[in-house]
């Protein structure tokens, strides 16, 4: 890195050295000089809309906006003169002439919050509450800083009706000041293009084309617009009216393997809202709808399991933890190892998974710790794991010159990957999509191939064969594809870095085995990078922790040799004595049993009622780590106390083990579990670098699964149905349900149109 030469400038008679290639506003802020501004925001292109950041610069005519004026050597800048102050006040007054202002200018202003008095003469205590963003409003802050205490203009109320018909957030454009932050974040950060200014003059509002709803317009509901809005015009349905949060807790999202950093907003021991973190290197703040909006409603769901309970002939009976542990121990004692089956969710933390496998092996004496992920993949499991463990990091997309996305859509998930692909496409990389219907990447793609999923493997095969022979010799290709394949192969073979992204639709398509094989060829023979966009959050942690049949902790990690996965045959048709489900809600996959223990945060949807229910705490309620799809070990921070009497998973295993007097499970806290992991899995908490996995021998894939439930064609399993701990988000989060219904109806109408 070359050192940039600093520039000497004078700001408010202070001589300063500032970075070159910045604006006056950036330079001032970096030197701790305050200039008010409503439309500028880090990470967004400068815009110059609000005019509040005007300054005086010697030699420049008038009052330039500091957010759009580049800084130059020797500039003499004044940011706070009487003239500027009165101009700013005037500008703000004009801005506020179309913004309800009773929260800003009111005789009762100072006492309002405390006494809730009104300007009426009767003794009622209500106060004005028409803006959901009170106390979290940048306009309030700026008004105070600019020193405006009254306005001489009448306030014109525009009278737009409040838009409440879309999931997750409401829009009241009467409060909008048209700073354009939402439009810029939607277009230049998210590269989505849902929002734009509409109309002109006093009729100007913001929204999608043709007055469509946001759902119809392809909105991702990433909520970026809501978090950048300086007023109450955009507000999240769940968190509005809450006011200022008490604390903010930085954690990692466990809804998918991207591992986005989240800023949980906590108030009164409840997660009320979630914000992105634009400085996070993995996701760059590009979180998706699930992390942004689907957490509070899940963890605060009225359905949450709060106390242990057991099934009796007349329904469920609430019992104490001691009774519950006794009950579980009684059932687990004395049964033969092969009569027991433990199923864990790949969405548990590394620590919980480690304790889960230790519990299964040492306490139950069994090796049968499986997950519904394994059943989803069936006999294609080993080739799948082979690809997943050698997956490339997400930032490789940034250097890619060619991207091929198969069955991948990042509208409602995997946005940090999707947006990186879009960005690469915009910057000139070749982007080719292969899917069954429109994908959100199509707008920027060079070619979008649409065909039924069973044909994907064949298409990919033809492309791989063609690439492998470098255009020489004869390759059998379907006639209708020949010219396309020739054309894109030429660009792919000229490109230095190519990436294949395998999306969920491909993972759950009938031809997946062949797709995995072709991907392997691309990687091994042609040097392509592979990213598998699967839904199983902590799958890599599950492997590293050995929460997997036939693999002890650390066995999957790199220490020289390739590993061969020897899966014991698991027969789901055979009746078990006890089935113990930890964070698994997928009852379609479990075998029949005499006794069913269910340990989770929410009750299952199934005809089968569990015999014993153990309430588990969720990821916002206990600490730990998770491993993302790149192999990075990321922190999960506890933000609130567990719901009612719910306990962390590791604590429950611990207690049952204690009762059974077996195994070495005597953990006081998560730190103790981590110490044990450190001993068994060398270098797991190594730091920033991803954990490296051993190459899995994919040639020797055995048939290990028997009696699996029939999967209906493609898109089965968790594929298109985002869930957490086996519970579909659409079941507990109203907005996710609305999105789900919308996706299903639009898929249906697409099919009809064909």
């Amino acid at each position: 890195m070359t050192r940039e030469k600093k520039l000497k400038v004078t700001i408010d008679s202070r001589e300063l050295e500032v970075r070159p290639n910045t604006t006056i506003l950036q330079a001032a802020r970096e030197s701790d000089v305050y200039i008010p501004s409503l439309c500028t925001l880090e990470h967004l292109p400068s815009y110059g809309a609000c005019r509040l950041c005007i300054v005086e610069v010697d030699g420049l005519r008038g009052y330039p906006t500091s957010c759009t004026t580049p800084i130059e050597e020797g500039m003499v800048i004044r940011t706070d003169t009487t003239e500027l102050r009165s101009l700013r006040q005037e500008i703000l007054k004009l801005l506020l002439s179309e913004h309800p202002a009773s929260c800003l200018f009111c005789e009762e202003h100072d006492e309002c919050k405390e006494f809730q008095g009104t300007i009426r003469k009767v003794g009622v205590t209500t106060g004005c509450r028409y803006c959901p963003n009170d106390a979290r409003c940048e306009l309030q802050e700026i008004t105070e800083k600019v020193g405006l205490t009254e306005t001489s203009y009448p306030v014109y109320y525009r009278g737009f009706s409040v838009e409440k018909y879309d999931p997750f957030y409401d829009r009241d454009y009467n409060l909008c000041i048209l700073c354009g932050r939402c439009v810029r974040v939607c277009n230049s950060v998210r590269l989505n293009g849902t929002l734009s200014f509409k109309q002109r003059g006093k009729l100007t509002t913001i929204g999608p084309a043709f007055d469509r709803t946001h759902l119809e317009a392809g909105c991702e509901f990433c909520g970026a617009c809501v978090s950048v809005c300086p007023t109450g015009a955009l507000s999240a349905k769940v968190s509005k009216w809450y006011g200022k949060p008490d604390t903010q807790v930085t954690t990692t999202c466990v809804y998918c393997p991207v591992g986005c950093r989240l800023e949980l907003q906590v108030k009164n021991n409840e997660v009320i809202d979630v914000l992105p973190n634009y400085d996070s290197p993995i996701d760059r703040g590009l979180i998706c709808v699930k992390g942004r909006f689907a957490i509070p409603e899940y963890v605060l769901s009225p359905e949450r399991l709060g106390t242990p309970s057991r099934l009796t002939p007349v329904g469920y009976e609430v019992i104490s933890w001691d009774q519950a542990i006794d009950e579980a121990a009684k059932r687990l004692r004395g049964t033969k190892p092969e009569d027991k089956l433990v199923m864990v969710s790949p969405q548990l933390s590394n620590e919980d998974l480690f304790v889960a496998q230790q519990f299964t092996r040492e306490v139950l004496g069994s090796d049968a710790v499986i997950s519904s992920m394994m059943i989803d993949l069936g006999d294609d499991l080993v080739p799948f794991l082979e690809l997943v463990t050698s997956s490339s990091t997400f930032d490789t997309i940034e250097d890619a010159r060619g991207v091929l996305a198969v069955g991948f859509d990042s509208t409602y998930g995997y946005s940090p990957v999707g947006i990186r692909i879009k960005k690469a496409g915009r910057e000139g990389a070749l982007l080719v999509t292969l899917g069954a219907c429109d994908s959100n990447l199509d707008m920027l793609s060079e070619t979008a191939f649409q065909m039924e999923p069973p044909q994907w493997a064949e298409f990919l095969g033809s492309l791989v064969d063609y690439l492998a022979r470098g255009g020489k010799g004869k390759v059998k290709i379907r006639k209708e594809w020949t010219s396309d394949i020739e054309r894109i192969s030429r660009i792919f073979s000229d490109s230095s870095t190519n990436i294949l992204v395998i999306g969920q639709e491909a993972i759950f398509s009938s031809g997946r085995r062949e797709i995995f094989e072709k991907a392997r060829t691309l990687r091994d023979k042609l040097g392509w990078k592979i990213i598998v966009a699967h839904p199983y959050t902590n799958l890599l942690g599950m492997l590293a922790m050995g929460a997997f049949p036939g693999a002890k902790p650390g066995e999957f990690l790199k220490n020289g040799d390739a590993v061969t996965v020897d899966l014991p045959v698991i027969d789901l048709a055979k009746r078990k004595k006890v089935v113990y489900l930890i964070g698994e809600g997928r009852f379609d996959t479990i075998p029949d049993c005499d006794y069913l223990i269910y340990q989770n945060g929410l009750p299952p949807v199934a005809s089968r009622q569990p015999d014993l229910i153990l309430p588990a705490s969720l990821f916002t309620e206990s600490s730990g780590t998770t491993t993302n799809g790149e192999g990075r070990v990321l922190k999960i921070e506890k933000a609130t106390e567990p719901f009612m009497d719910a306990k962390p998973d590791w604590w429950i295993f611990n207690r049952i083990a204690e009762k059974l007097n077996k195994g070495k499970l005597k953990y006081k806290d998560v730190a103790a579990v981590q110490a044990a992991i450190k001993k068994q899995v060398k270098g797991f908490y190594g730091g920033r670098k991803p954990v490296e996995f051993a190459r899995i021998n994919a040639e020797r894939a055995t048939k290990w699964l028997r009696g699996a439930p029939k999967q209906e064609g493609q898109s089965s399993g968790a594929g298109n149905n985002p869930s957490y701990r086996g519970i579909p988000l659409a079941r507990v989060v109203a907005g996710m349900k609305a999105i789900d219904e919308w996706v299903n109806t639009s898929l249906l109408s697409d099919k009809e149109a064909q």
Binding site: N192, G193, T194, F197, P208, A209, F210
Partner: protein, 154 residues
């Protein structure tokens, strides 16, 4: 011409640089009289822009209509000098003859009646535009004559 032909002709004529968006939209309006959803989507696709952005541009300009318009779009000047010169009577005559009010289109899709801001014919008001042609010094009788000319001429 089919809609997609119109769009592709315009794109061929002007190109797909961002600065060519207005000429392309104007061309589509000149052929179609208004910008339908399909037209805007077609233009957005050709320009690799979001539909919202193209719609935002179209809805900004009065002369880029996003609602269906008749073959003859009549725009009566509503600015103060024309108003004082008797714009009300002109409007009344138009509304009576066409049986529509401001902002509406006749059932046969022939005429649309709109208001517009100053066209610079203040000295010869009241003034109106029929498509691209300006009529000045209007009286209610003159207006009816003009309309009859268009009704017969088409």
């Amino acid at each position: 011409m089919m809609l997609n032909e119109i769009v592709s002709t315009a794109v061929k004529k002007f190109g797909v640089g961002r600065e060519q968006l207005l000429p392309v939209l104007q061309y589509v309006v000149s052929q179609e009289k208004w910008l339908s959803e399909d037209a805007l989507l077609g233009v957005a696709r050709a320009f690799d822009m979001s539909a919202a952005e193209v719609y935002g541009v179209a809805s900004f300009y009065s002369f880029l209509d996003t609602k269906p318009r008749g073959d003859y779009v009549i725009r009566v000047c509503r600015t103060v000098s024309c108003d004082m010169a008797g714009k009300e009577a002109i409007m009344e005559a138009l509304e009576k003859t066409l049986h529509i009010s401001v902002g509406e289109t006749t059932a046969d899709r022939k005429f649309t009646l709109l208001e517009t801001n100053c066209m610079g014919w203040c000295a010869e008001g009241p003034a109106m535009l029929v498509n691209d042609y300006v009529y000045t010094g209007l009286t209610p009788e003159k207006v009816v004559d003009i309309l009859q000319g268009y009704m017969a001429g088409a």
